[in-house]
Symmetry: C2
Subunit: 326 residues, 2 copies
Amino acid sequence: MLTLNNAIDLLQEFAEAHPFPDAPPELYEPCSYILSLGGKRLRPALAVMAAELTGGDPRQALHIGWAVELFHNFSLIHDDIMDAAPLRRGQPTVHTKWSLTTGILSGDVMLIFAYRHLAAIERESAIPAVLRVFNRVATGVCEGQQFDINFESRAEVSIEEYIRMIELKTAVLLGGALEMGALATGASAEDAAHLYDFGRLAGIAFQIQDDLLDTYGDPATFGKQVGGDIIQNKKTLLVLKTLETAPANDVEALSYLLSTNHTMDNDEKVAAVRAIFDRNGIPAIIEEEKKKYETMAFAALDLVNAPQERKMVLRSMIDALLHRQK
Amino acid sequence: MLTLNNAIDLLQEFAEAHPFPDAPPELYEPCSYILSLGGKRLRPALAVMAAELTGGDPRQALHIGWAVELFHNFSLIHDDIMDAAPLRRGQPTVHTKWSLTTGILSGDVMLIFAYRHLAAIERESAIPAVLRVFNRVATGVCEGQQFDINFESRAEVSIEEYIRMIELKTAVLLGGALEMGALATGASAEDAAHLYDFGRLAGIAFQIQDDLLDTYGDPATFGKQVGGDIIQNKKTLLVLKTLETAPANDVEALSYLLSTNHTMDNDEKVAAVRAIFDRNGIPAIIEEEKKKYETMAFAALDLVNAPQERKMVLRSMIDALLHRQK
């Protein structure tokens, strides 16, 4: 069974063998640029590993993996425009480095190239099923992005709505990568569906972990500014849980801190919000919520008809990612 | 054989039976809105008519036709952002009525819905071939848009480059509609390819006609402001042909008129540019160029293996569109 790093090496080789066309450079250079900024390549690796898990040839899932990676990067280009983000992984975003027009059009063609890779898989008979999964997932990601935008300006967001948003915006693509990797290499629809659930549920757990680490992560290893969500007044799961469970005075205090009606400095603000979370036991509640999805994810993996020792590779990899050091 | 109007009626019925989802409305209402602004529905009608021409069931090409129409409207939403256009068919453009974010995201999901319709055709075995045609055409449209953008800021554009740009930006989608409509309903790859050429070549002829009508059309029937291209200093085929064939003094005069270094009013400017075109015989040269593509288009249609009387319906329809009254 391939390890994550083996899968990533295969993908790197594949990407080098499948560059974007040279012309027009104004259209394709930004596509190569965003890919060159790095990223873990976790999504495409999952497609490749799912293929091998279910007895297929992992190399036959490379087009699927790359389609997923291109889709992910298309969504980054367009999301960065919508968020007016100047930087992505420490480098200028596409619309900042080039222009709004370039960001829109290069993103569009990158999405179309994702579909080109779907159409290029070796097992022709799997294309219709793979295409339908891709379409379902891609639609979900757009809907998730819309819900995320809507929630910014809404006074109240339920925890159920929030989980549904992160599920659509990020988790379904992890599930889709696994499902399509399996389908493209001959797995049964049932096994592919269980793998989808595994990825989707693990993806929700990842996202919950991200919310936790943003406030409680180790500044030395987190990679982003710890407390960033608080500084930006984001309605994370920690905030929503506090609003739902804390006594009225803490709810009021949190609402005040996350409004723009005060002049507290950022360090003070992060400390004050964290104190509210702490005295209401929010970190433990959120850990519990994450654990719930993690358990459901592994239960879905258990249902896949594949040798235990192969499943262990995938399980231990996801387990490691879900228990990164704070 | 269905007439154009029969095909449009079928499409209208199909569209009503396949609305966008209700939620999130912020995402899907703009998609319904742009479709509600009208348009001739010529592209999807071609898909339906191609199916019947080659002996298939035209109803089985409705998903294809609608995919093409959604793709076209996706490209309108995004192009309107890139062109900073406030109006589309006399109504506010999506990004003007809503926001930049809405324009980007609703356009994206509309493109994905085009692919959903491809995946929904009845003849499952045709999906891979149809998907590849769609991807090829969609890539071409993005490249054509990029070339169009590049040409705006370039001093010299050859006629060959210009024809290639309009071919990619608008003509390949007409060809693709015909090719996919045929493929989806059981036509041979050869017949589908001839239909692609027919649509592509006719599409180039249409676009050349558009350039002509923009300067020489009848204001009563043209629908847009006659002379609009001249007022906007566009490098149309008329301009490029003049730069290529006219004597130096006319080339100089035209370059001056189409620069922003003078204060001539629009009516004067249009009249002066038209006078240069006229004395260099440009309208006749351009008519000739259009005729060349028209002839090649009908020659491609002749190669399709289908009953003459069915081909006549398509031929006379395209002929009528290519000889709209000036």
